[in-house]
């Protein structure tokens, strides 16, 4: 998995609460059997005036000019600034895949839906949680300043603005470790193979109906 340590980059806005995974990547793109290539269809319905089709070239599609991420000043944004309950809805990992493929390395929001939050870590995308007030400060600064950048430091768990704010954020230690080191989680779990087998043996003795029925 891709590692994340520190990142400094241009900030782009998604200024609404409860952005759901259907908005992040509409279902027609879920027909793909690949993990990559979802970036051009990120926020497809908000971003383009026509209806997106899987596999179609997006470079000449008509853009919705009032969609902020289409503004020239946010071109190349690598940090998405968002509102609460970001990523609610389905479990589709295509949502972080699309954000990552578009070029985002991190999202900053006051809260996330649980499954989306979890999925981000599997893809080297850092979902930063700040308070609503802090997110407000960042929105105001971003709107006021073209080319607005932020620095995110995972080891010290901070977001730093050029104006001098340093906001700390929390995250679980095991998630931080995996992200910092880009660890292969499956490989890590398989180091516990003996524990898993011991658990299975004990369980099969207690609850035999859990095993063997499906053939």
């Amino acid at each position: 998995m891709k590692a994340f340590t520190t990142h400094r980059g241009l900030v782009g806005p998604m200024d609404r609460a409860n952005v759901d995974t259907d908005m992040i990547i509409p279902k027609q793109f879920l027909k793909s059997i690949k993990r990559s290539g979802f970036g051009p269809n990120l926020f497809d319905e908000l971003r383009y005036r026509d209806e997106g089709q899987p596999g179609a070239d997006c470079s000449n599609r008509p853009l919705k000019e009032d969609f902020p991420l289409n503004f020239p000043r946010y071109k190349g944004a690598s940090i998405l600034l968002a509102r609460k309950n970001f990523g609610c809805g389905s479990s589709r990992e295509h949502a972080p895949w699309a954000l990552e493929d578009y070029g985002f390395n991190a999202v900053i929001a006051p809260s996330y839906a649980d499954i989306f939050y979890n999925n981000c870590f599997k893809n080297g995308l850092l979902p930063v949680i700040l308070t609503e007030e802090q997110v407000d400060v960042l929105f105001k600064e971003m709107e006021a300043e073209e080319g607005y950048q932020l620095a995110i430091d995972l080891p010290s768990q901070t977001v730093t603005t050029d104006s001098g704010h340093v906001f700390s954020f929390e995250l679980d230690e095991f998630r931080k470790d995996c992200l910092l080191n880009g660890l292969d989680e499956i490989g890590l779990t398989l180091q516990n193979a003996d524990d898993i087998k011991a658990y299975e043996a004990e369980r099969a003795a207690q609850h035999p109906w859990v095993f063997g029925a499906i053939k």
Binding site: R16, N18, D20, D22, M23, P26, K27, Q28, L30, K31, S32, I33, K34, R35, E45, E51, P54, R83, K84, N85, C88, G89, S90, S91, R92, E93, P96, S111, A113, D114, I115, N118, N119, K122, D172, E173, F174, D177, D184, E185, I186, L188, T189, L190, N192, D195, I196, Y199, E200, R203, Q206, H207, P208, W209, V210, F211, G212, A213, I214, K215
Partner: protein, 477 residues
């Protein structure tokens, strides 16, 4: 020591290892697989040269992508007209064949929407951990199991290790006591709960639904409720075991028989929260306060009683709420203050893992019987949740009732719940839908979804607009 909640018990009994960094390794008993969120996981397995840990844990079926149209379905996978979808379903078949995973193929008896199929085959049993690459996996919690959705990386993780790295959630109890009135269904109860706590209300929690309303509810009704736990932000929804749970399981295909069944029942009967268990969060509603519900906005929390009106901008307490409402009303093409019953519907969808079981089909048929779809309604899709539901409904003659009323009786699948196949709304069309999400574009680009119960959706089909199903009571039932 304080007593344990149902969730605590399920968690403890699946704990393989507690790590020093606060994470845990949790054993997964049942893994349900479908075509959309699995191909990249199988691909990952292959790239890393790994094999599934266990085969008798997995059960697969195609549901999201497939056509519900009889003539296309009869042609099987090879006959799927959407080439991109065909490849995805074929990839599921190929992966299951390659690894020897049990799959109920496109037209096989047993196929159905993952969350309808698992319980009805007895693949889901009380006390299990159940996961699936789909957020509505909480449905299975109606049988007192710990069930939740996972992303594709975790699908791969479960395939390879039979475990998940997880962190324990907090306990929430939602209690609804009393007796619901006529015309108020499990869907209305869960929509009312979401209306109260909001779409993020259950974030980081596992919800147990408790109280007389859920005890009185059928197992299928409990599935409808647990299904929408995720719409309240919770990955997990559960109801404790009672005699109904055990009766539901008995005799199903993958449920043990004879002595082993008796042994299982002894264990299953322990799957309730202890009387002195402490919940981190408690929510209480009363049945008397719940009327048939309808969503008018673009999030499941934007919901009201059918007798109410669309909220107005100047009632909103904060600027953020005002902005949210303004955007929702614009998308939905509604005016603040407009009566919910004045909303006309263009299409009706009765189906999805929320409401496509036999009791849902019966409830819709009871309203449709002897009536006709309003001429202004373009299409009414009735999509049974599985081959077994379809067969049962046909044995009861429900298909005839729907067809006589001018409705379309379809083949099982997800259909217009997420509109990945040809079943979708046109831009601007309003839909009375028994599914679970009313997000922008969910049922088709520009489509406008109103979530409600099967009986309410059938009534809307007949009336041509949203209507209080209680006005239909005593009609032709």
């Amino acid at each position: 020591m304080a007593g344990r909640t149902l969730y605590d018990k399920l968690w403890d009994s699946h704990l393989v290892k507690q790590n020093s960094d606060g994470s845990s390794l949790i054993y997964i008993d049942r893994h349900v697989i479908h075509e959309v969120t699995s191909p990249q996981a199988f691909e990952g397995l292959r790239l890393a040269n790994r094999k599934p840990w266990r085969l008798d844990t997995n059960i697969a079926t195609p549901d999201h992508n497939i056509s519900t149209d009889k003539s296309e379905r009869d042609a099987g996978v090879a006959g799927m007209t959407d080439e991109v979808s065909r490849i995805q379903v074929q990839t599921l078949d190929d992966n299951c064949d390659l690894y020897g995973i049990k799959e109920f193929k496109i037209n096989e008896m047993g196929q159905g929407i993952v969350h309808v199929m698992g319980p009805e085959l007895g693949a889901t049993m009380p006390g299990m951990t159940v996961v699936c690459g789909d957020s509505h996996t909480a449905t299975h919690g109606a049988l007192a199991c710990l069930a939740h959705g996972i992303g594709t990386s975790e699908v791969e993780h479960v395939l390879a290790t039979q475990c998940l790295v997880a962190k324990k959630m907090k306990n929430m109890r939602v209690t609804v006591n009393g007796t619901v009135g006529a015309g108020v269904t499990p869907k209305d109860v869960v929509l009312a709960i979401i209306g109260k706590i909001g779409t993020a209300g259950g974030n980081e929690h596992a919800i147990e639904f408790a109280g007389s309303v859920f005890r009185d509810m059928s197992i299928e009704g409990r599935m409808t409720v647990c299904n929408m736990a995720i719409e309240a932000g919770a990955r997990v929804g559960m109801v404790a075991v009672d005699q109904k749970t055990i009766d539901y399981c008995e005799g199903r295909q993958f449920v043990p028989k004879g002595e082993m069944f008796e042994q299982a029942v002894v264990y299953w009967n322990t799957l309730t929260s202890d009387a002195d268990a402490v919940f981190d969060t408690e929510v209480v509603l009363h049945a008397d306060d719940i009327a048939p519900q309808v969503t008018w906005g673009t999030s499941p929390e934007m919901v009201s009683a059918v007798t109410a009106s669309v909220p107005t901008l100047d009632e909103q307490p904060t600027e953020e709420k005002r902005k949210g409402l303004e955007r929702a009303l614009e998308y939905m093409g509604l005016e603040g203050g407009q009566a919910i019953e004045s909303i006309k519907v263009d299409r009706v969808f009765i189906g999805s893992c929320t409401n496509s079981r036999i009791e849902d089909m019966r409830a819709a048929a009871a309203v449709a019987k002897g009536r006709q779809v309003a001429s202004s309604v373009k299409q009414v899709l009735i999509v049974p949740g599985s081959q077994m539901v379809k067969a049962q409904a046909e044995a009861e003659g429900l298909d005839k009732i729907f067809i006589d009323a001018g409705m379309d009786w379809r083949e099982p699948g997800c259909s217009m719940c997420l509109a990945m196949n040809a079943d979708k709304l046109g831009a601007g069309e309003h839909c009375a839908s028994t599914s679970n999400r009313n997000f922008e574009g969910r049922q088709g680009n520009g489509g406008r979804t109103h979530l409600m119960s099967p009986a309410m959706a059938a009534a809307a089909a007949v009336a041509g607009h949203i209507v209080d199903v209680r006005e239909f009571a005593g009609g032709d039932q």
